[in-house]
Symmetry: C2
Subunit: 321 residues, 2 copies
């Protein structure tokens, strides 16, 4: 039987889906970050229930029997260190769980800006009734950076409300069912002159770190907005602040920032054209249960010797398509 | 030839669409509210370009040649006084122009609340980074009160993003292409127990004035939100404030209120679960041009002796279906 270690944290729920693990594993080791290294010897399966923790990198040397790591997250950037990448350990993720909530969150950011809710909310605080024009999103043009499962869910939702959606991915290709033509994200700056909404949902890899910076902001039209629901480090924060400050960029909806939590002295907090949400876009009511159920389904496959779902391509750093 | 009077106001644009009227009418009288009575004698066509003005009711006795009034608005409640209703004067409105913008605005309100943006914006002001859960709108249940052109646009947009939509109209009927079953809005309270989003877009008539009050709020679930993009007086303001205050209603997105502008001492301004926007939901960029073009198309029909589009059924107080 299998020793299962679950890396958790004080604020994490323990859904009832996990109850049967007590009978199905030879041992279940619930540990927090500082206990991880001590728990790894003998562990065959590791569930990163506290998926943001960077603790595994330091503790990984203690792993001797580890065969499978499941991350209860879509991004696995905190797991893509050399020792794990070069090992035989299989990594799976929570692909699919966050698609619909994040797509809706992107739409919420877009409509917030298109309907000029920032001004209405400011006027409301001052008890000012002042009619203004707003914008329609139907007929506007979005570019999704990241063409994985979540990027596709975003594209489909936006298209359902009449938004045109282009895609930027790790390589240029045509004939895509959701995006049609996909451009190489390395050439992003030369493809955004007509983009109203630049939406980042790319996995954080060497290729995407700092991908969206001064050059891209300069190429976007001044009325454009950035929406980041991927990883903060895909955007060059200083360049973003400068572009928002100068009016080169009209606004930003940021569910992820670099670093997280956003430092108290960050100028982003008080910019009137910025909305900051605390890395919550995928976490709609029931998300813990959905993540737990998804792990348990893979757990059943593992015990039955069947192929696991949602395998990560460790060389690429995201889900194998 | 025809004398055309255009009721305008200081803040209203004069789109270039109107330029040719100088040649096509025998006289064009641009007037503001206090000049209306003096301009009406001899006027055959009246364009209510300042569509919120209640000035016509007092001035109507001066109309001697009036045959057609076009309101550059969807709602025509300010025109439905007895003398006009009982006259032979034809009334048309701006049906269609506001459908898409208002539907998007409703979606903006819904996502604002579902994604808990009020809390995020408050936390942002305090530089607090605090993860929370949000809600999905897909799978939630909306009820649209008002099943005219805008109500249908709302229903179609919401269904496109996975929201279930029921309808309440002036009479119960089945087999509707957009709503399926439509309930009688007079029985609203007995049909809202499962409604997450109550959306008002009903025309303001004797039947709909005060339609949404204490009884309806008591029947809604506590997590429900009210969205009003119709007319403020369809909702009983005191009952709304009480329901929001007691937690009987979770929140409200109000593009219309009673009265307008919202008085400075209204408790609604400072409620954290209320978003107030100044009757702007239909007015997306280009709206003046669209309204002007729509009037000009009807003007051309009028001059050609063809039937006018968007006739109002004056007994009902809204567009003849």
């Amino acid at each position: 039987m299998t020793v299962l270690t679950i890396l958790t944290a004080a604020d994490k729920k323990r859904p009832a889906h996990f109850d049967r693990l007590a009978e199905e594993a030879s041992e279940v080791r619930w540990v927090e970050a500082d206990e991880l290294a001590a728990a790894l010897p003998g562990t065959e399966v590791l569930l990163m229930w506290d998926f943001f923790s960077p603790a595994l990198k330091d503790a990984f040397g203690a792993a001797d029997e580890l065969r499978w790591i499941h991350a209860a997250s879509a991004g696995v950037d905190s797991l893509m260190f050399d020792e794990l990448r070069d090992s035989e350990v299989i990594v799976t993720n929570a692909r699919g769980t966050f698609d619909q909530p994040i797509a809706e969150f992107v739409l919420a950011f877009m409509l917030h800006f298109a309907k000029d809710l920032p001004t209405s909310l400011e006027h409301q605080r001052q008890r000012i009734w002042q009619h203004r024009e707003s914008r329609d999103i139907a007929g506007s043009q979005a570019m999704t950076v990241g063409t994985g499962a979540i990027g596709r869910a975003i594209a489909r939702l936006l298209r359902a409300v009449g938004v045109n959606v282009a895609g930027a991915g790790s390589r240029a290709r045509g004939g895509d069912p959701d995006f049609g033509e996909i451009i190489d994200s390395a050439e992003l700056a030369s493809h955004v002159a007509d983009i109203d909404w630049l939406i980042n949902i790319a996995p954080l890899t060497a290729q995407t770190t700092g991908l969206i910076g001064a050059e891209v902001f300069a190429a976007l039209p001044e009325h454009a907005h950035l929406i980041n629901v991927g990883r903060g480090a895909t955007v060059v924060t200083d360049d973003l602040v400068a572009a928002l400050d100068s009016g080169q960029l009209s606004g930003a909806g940021l569910d992820v920032v670099d670093p997280e939590p956003l430092p108290e002295d960050s100028p982003l907090w008080q910019m009137g054209n910025v909305v900051i949400t605390p890395h919550m876009s995928g976490d709609s009511a029931g998300w813990s249960d959905r993540l737990a159920a998804q792990f348990m389904a893979n757990w059943d496959r593992y015990r039955a010797g069947e192929p696991l779902a949602n395998l990560i391509d460790k060389d690429k750093g995201y889900a194998a398509q």
